[in-house]
Symmetry: C2
């Protein structure tokens, strides 16, 4: 293939016209040309390197890697560094190997990190444990380019033997270590970084990011479905104040400072988690455009999803240069930023309308090692007429919860939820063979009847269910068990479910179908009175014990402030 | 050590005030502070990371590594990546080991590259050969951080077995490969780069540098004693034209382009060769200041001698961050850019006036394996009254020569030089035991009498001598032999010499003494009629056969255009 086009060159921050020869999957030759009025330019628009998402959990898209690729190429993404942390919690090495195998069936660049923290907590039952020998097994693989986010920062700070061994192995295999250290600062951050943990994607405010960057970390700015940190980290006013403060020192000339304001300082833009109903509308293409709207130099923003991650993870990607794999995209212009075509290894995989490859149907194994439930499994028992209970208070779109207290009526020895106080029942059903159920109460969902259930519940992915009555809760859970995982909405009048039979996390369908079904479920939950925008996501984080204040696992109601289990019924 | 100072942070392109704790040679803690009118700032001026020269041949300073360190710290340099290519040509591995050992005697960061091309040519006798097994021996050393400049680009392009093996070894040991490919472009450059040769320091014009950069090379901008490429590569007009050309495409917004103009695009500033009489006045500090005068953003220029080379060669240097080796300098301000103090591993090594460490006296071994010469050794014999000879025409400050022809008188069978035509005698005396002498003629030196000789003669470093009469030439060469190398000026009336007893390349004295003696020799040469600014340097390059057109080695007069030896006397 030979053609002329304008190349956006992230190596020289410029655009130049060139005659390009592509063959054997690589850029064979790139010869800059001088453009005159007569010169024919074959490609309308602009050639860019394909985008790289350097930190994403594919499982959050609820799609198989192959289906993820199909939607990602529509948005100009050609490579991802993905951390299969979720499936690893469900099915360990076997799950990761499924991801790698499935990824290899499509023309897309999947790189992996070895999930460093499986299980994420010892306060919940997970499906698997990855010890340091498992990590070594993974680090030896060519597809694995990094040690995944080290969430266990207490383990790092306390010198936990297995944690330190995993970090040492990453250095031994010469693979960079990704960090995850929300709000860690000062001496603790110094100590964390002593272990060569070199990236962080958890910065939620400018000064946090600046501290980490000043200490030598590479900062991943998140623009995902759950976490959106671009406004905070690219904030123009914050930057102006930061530099003005310096200008007042009189040390840096004003013109240098003015130019500096448009420079993003930080290193990568990543999505971390991207849900199907967002993913159908855009990926990094949308983030780059948004960065520009926030005042970031457009080419600098593009560097953050091309050459920067490619250099860091040593990927054969990120720039349009002779000898490199011919991954590139064509966009209309830097303002509208529409993806017109996507090429991977020299082959067109998206022609502006259709994706030109198929994703294979996956034969799923059941990962729901759990018996069917009865309404009795979801009762909280208490003598007397009423009792005081500890209640999880959740908020729309937030991972954080608060601990509150409610007085509930008891009837025939069972504690009754109260829709007038918006205090519903919540339960976690262990799905890894132990059949444990923990029941508690939650405020914030707003359901007036029925129940909703999910087998996506970070990070151990047991079944989580919220509802008004025990019968509906049992029915919702049993629907999930029949479906081998997924989401379910159940009520006396109507109900539906999204089946996620792959490890209880991923569908076999494509992004559009999954998004559509998710949309229907959201509408049904809303019809049942639910006040949350993404009830399944909010529910999924109710089991994420590391985020305070009150959470729930299959082992009990967990107080994230005191880091211990507490009773549901207050004594 | 605890103090407050303004830090110039190359990671965030900014300046911030902080409380700094240094101990055990590293930055123990760095805590940003808020400055009020009452805050006491202990350090006047600005704290910067120490500078890193990422490509230098220490031998060109005519100083031992230890003495080089003593002058370099005065200018804020704390690290160098040096290629001991010159001493390797004289004494092989033993010479390199001397450099490493001597470097270790002083508090300064010497990193080395393994010289990839020893000997540089097969058309001259050198003192040593480094084959791929020698390279492997060197690459295993911790001090060796790269494979040195691959000058043998024909060898790369033709797939020479030993060359390819050396390149493979560098990759095997995970050490980057430095390039040296003047004017290489197009498909040949592509092929050269296929071997993972990733830097180039030979770019002498903007479009050459842009091509290499666009292809993915990191560009070292040279500001040395011999080669000065900053004006060409930082040229404001060139850049404006380059970007304007793009602006005319209408693809990149004008404000983005305007900011872009001050961005240097290229990666490092290096010196390559720095002679003692330049070195006493400055090193990278002078280059950064000059870059700023050329319109480059000052902090970007500083990045080119700090974080950029440190990242590339994975050095524990380049930024002021907790846990890093405490190499830093204090400058007065970004305009005057005077180095006030230099610290290495937390110790002050230059206090603004004195260097606070000593360089050891080196016990030298003789490396002049050559017998004393007689005037007869420097005669060109020819029958008849006159003859036509091929003459090297040299130019002030240039490595390039031209081939010219002169008619010379003969007397008693000997061809006579002619000061009226400025045609003098030149000879190369082999110093590695073979005792070969090649005689020829040269135009451009302007000597009216006497002779000058040098044991610095790139790259094989045989003895080279230029003069009017054979007696003086023999005396100059014999002076060098007595001195175990160096420079000599000899005439009937006066004469002097600079002794370079270490491999015939380096002195035991300090930079100021060597520069002073060199200055005296230059004045003497000038008094003998020499018209060149640096006659010894010009002479030293007359044996550098790879640079056209006519050069001389111990094996004969060499035509660099036809790449063959030719006769002195034209037939």
């Amino acid at each position: 293939m030979k053609f002329t086009a304008y190349i956006l060159d992230v190596l020289t921050n410029s655009v130049y016209p060139a005659r390009i020869t592509v063959g054997d999957g690589v850029f064979k030759e790139i010869v800059p040309i001088h453009v005159t009025e007569e010169t024919k330019i074959d490609v309308e628009g602009l050639l860019l390197p394909g985008f790289i998402d350097s930190h994403i959990h594919i499982e959050s898209s609820m799609l198989t890697p192959a289906q993820f690729a199909k939607i990602a190429v529509r948005h100009g993404t050609t490579s991802v560094v993905c951390d299969p942390h979720e499936i690893a919690n469900v099915s360990g090495i076997k799950g990761i190997e499924f991801m790698i195998d499935n990824a290899s069936t499509v023309p897309f660049n999947f790189y992996f990190s070895a999930p460093s923290c499986v299980p994420a907590t010892s306060f919940e039952t997970s499906g698997a444990v990855l010890d340091s020998s498992d990590i070594e097994f993974l680090l030896k693989k060519d597809e694995v380019v990094a040690l995944g986010e080290m969430m266990n920062f207490p383990g790092v700070l306390n010198g936990d033997e297995e944690v330190i061994r995993k970090l040492e192995l990453a250095r031994m295999y010469n693979k960079p270590i990704d960090g995850h250290a929300p709000l860690l600062s000062g001496k603790e951050l110094d100590k964390y970084m002593e272990q060569y943990i070199i990236t962080d994607h958890e910065c939620s405010n400018f000064s946090e990011a600046i501290e980490k960057k000043q200490k030598g970390m590479k900062i991943m700015v998140r623009d995902g479905s759950s976490a959106k940190n671009m406004e905070a980290l690219f904030d123009f006013t914050e930057r102006v104040n930061h530099w003005k403060n310096q200008a007042s020192f009189g040390i840096i000339p004003t013109d240098v400072l003015e130019r500096r304001i448009h420079s993003p300082i930080f290193d990568f833009i990543v999505s971390d988690d991207k849900h199907p109903n967002d993913l159908i509308y855009g990926h990094l293409n949308k983030s780059v455009k948004k960065a520009k709207e926030l005042g970031v130099d457009i080419i600098k923003a593009i560097e953050m999803v091309t050459i920067n991650p490619a250099s860091h993870y040593k990927l054969d990607a990120g720039a349009i240069v002779t000898g490199a794999k011919a991954d590139f995209i064509i966009i209309d212009n830097l303002d509208d930023f529409n993806i017109q075509k996507t090429y991977i290894a020299g082959e067109c995989v998206f022609d502006g309308e259709n994706v030109l490859f198929d994703a294979p149907e996956v034969q799923t194994e059941n990962s729901m090692y759990v018996d069917k439930k009865t309404p009795e499994d979801f009762e909280v028992y208490c003598d007397g007429d009423e009792c005081e209970v500890n209640v999880i208070k959740c908020y729309n779109g937030e991972l954080l919860t608060k601990k509150t207290v409610a007085t509930l009526k008891c009837c025939e020895g069972k504690v009754k939820p109260d829709i007038y106080q918006d205090v519903l029942k919540i339960a976690v059903v262990e799905r890894y063979g132990g059949n444990k159920v923990t029941n508690a109460f939650i405020k914030g969902f707003g359901l007036k009847k029925g129940a909703i259930a999910s087998s996506v519940a970070h990070d151990s992915h047991n079944i989580i269910v919220v509802g008004y009555d025990s019968k509906m809760m049992a029915e919702a859970v049993n629907t999930l068990i029949d479906n081998r995982g997924g989401f379910a909405v159940v009520s006396e009048d109507f109900g539906d479910s999204l089946s996620l039979p792959i490890a209880g996390l991923m569908s076999n369908e494509d992004a559009f179908d999954v998004a559509k079904k998710l949309d229907i479920l959201h509408k049904m939950a809303s019809a049942l009175g639910c006040k949350l925008d993404s009830p399944f996501m909010t529910m999924a984080f109710m089991a994420l014990l590391v985020i305070p204040s009150l959470k729930i696992s299959d082992l009990g109601l967990f107080d994230g402030d005191s880091f211990e289990f507490i009773d549901v019924i207050k004594n």
